[in-house]
Amino acid sequence: MRLLLVSACTFAVYGGAALAQDQQQPANAMEEELSERGVNYARDDSTQDRARNYARDAQRIARRRQDQGEEEDAPLPLGEAVIVDNNRRSGPDN
């Protein structure tokens, strides 16, 4: 299982690098338009592995903060950069 996870991570890193190169042109155009805001691009492809990893990270953070006695509606810190995925799949209604 550990090997599988390492392999998946390695693949994701390579995949992300390839994707970043593929999307260089539109990324630059978008970055220009959003230059005042600051922009970051997803490093890897939209896979369920990536999605689950984010969710597990979210679990860890939520539990840690709750274990530390965080109040239910305590504000959460938030980054300023906007993250985008150039591989848009969304239609008007889903």
Binding site: R37, Y41, A58, Q59, I61, V82, V84, N94
Partner: protein, 283 residues
């Protein structure tokens, strides 16, 4: 196709989105500037973070509301999950990852699960307004447990219908998928059969009024409209029916169900009333 559309016009007009009839699988057209949509996405994130939301259910509409049937107010919903997000510089920032069910471009009758980001979400918005349900802390933790587990994919049915019946397992759309995930979190099961039985018993779906002509012609014009799972009228899950469900079973507080307007929004505000009134007033 033109003949079908003419027929629909002759029978009094179909109360379903005109663009759906014209071209169901076109790529979305940005309604606002990229900068505006980026700012709106960050505004939503800031509102969620200020309320301490680790998980929120957020809805937007990709159609002008005048094109939507009945009282339906939003056309897409997704889970927003607070997470550390890697940046290109090798660092990490906190933000929200968005968990969607999208129908495919081709064929449109199949769907997939896709994780993307708040800006990807607001780029599909055409009115500058989103609906939000923040579950209570216990439910947030339970929903997060489902999203982080293989159950999340097990709950997905790739057979897509735009107006799927939430109490029937044959088809699924984005909002029904959210309801299935919430149900899995409530009843601690990944059995879709059991979830559908429970939804039939406890969930009050939104009714969509279609006359027999509309019901016959609509699937001819848009293959995403499949009514095999509907009996005695059209029933589907919406923002308001989900909000009612969350309120009725104390899964969310009333002040955690609200709408967020972009600065450029022209959409009218709807005060969420809760209970039966909201089914007609807030969706």
């Amino acid at each position: 196709m033109r003949i079908v559309l003419v027929c629909l016009a002759l029978i009094g007009g179909l109360a379903l989105p005109a663009p759906v009839l014209a071209d169901s699988n076109s790529e979305p057209v940005d309604a606002f500037s990229l900068r505006e949509m980026a700012d709106f996405s960050k505004q939503i994130e800031q509102e969620l973070a200020s309320r301490g939301a680790y998980v929120a259910m957020v809805f937007r509409t990709g159609r002008d509301r005048s094109e939507l049937p009945g009282d339906i107010r939003y056309t897409h919903g997704a889970f927003w999950v607070y997470a550390p997000v890697p940046t290109l510089g090798g660092g990490t920032q906190y933000g929200y990852a968005v968990y969607n069910l999208y129908h495919e471009i081709d064929p449109v009758t199949l769907s997939g699960l896709y994780q993307d980001w708040p800006l990807d979400f607001t780029r599909g918005d055409t009115v500058g307004q989103v609906g939000v349900i923040i579950p209570n802390r216990e439910m947030q933790n339970r929903i997060l447990d489902v999203i982080a587990s293989p159950y999340f994919e097990a709950l997905h049915n790739p057979d897509y219908s735009l107006l799927s019946n939430p109490a029937d397992g044959r088809f699924q759309n984005c909002t029904e998928f959210m309801l299935d995930v919430v149900s899995s979190a409530i009843w601690q099961t990944a059995s879709r059969e059991q979830i559908k039985v429970n939804i039939e018993a406890y969930f009050r779906p939104t009714r969509v009024q279609l006359n027999p002509f509309q019901r016959f012609f609509a699937p001819l014009a848009d293959p995403r409209l499949r009514f095999d799972d509907q009996r005695n009228g059209i029933r589907t899950a919406t923002f308001s029916s989900l909000a009612d469900f969350m309120l009725a079973f104390d899964l969310a507080d009333e002040d955690q169900i609200f709408e967020i307007d972009a600065p450029y929004s022209q959409a009218e505000d709807i005060v969420y009333l809760g209970g039966e009134a909201a089914a007609t007033a807030a969706d």
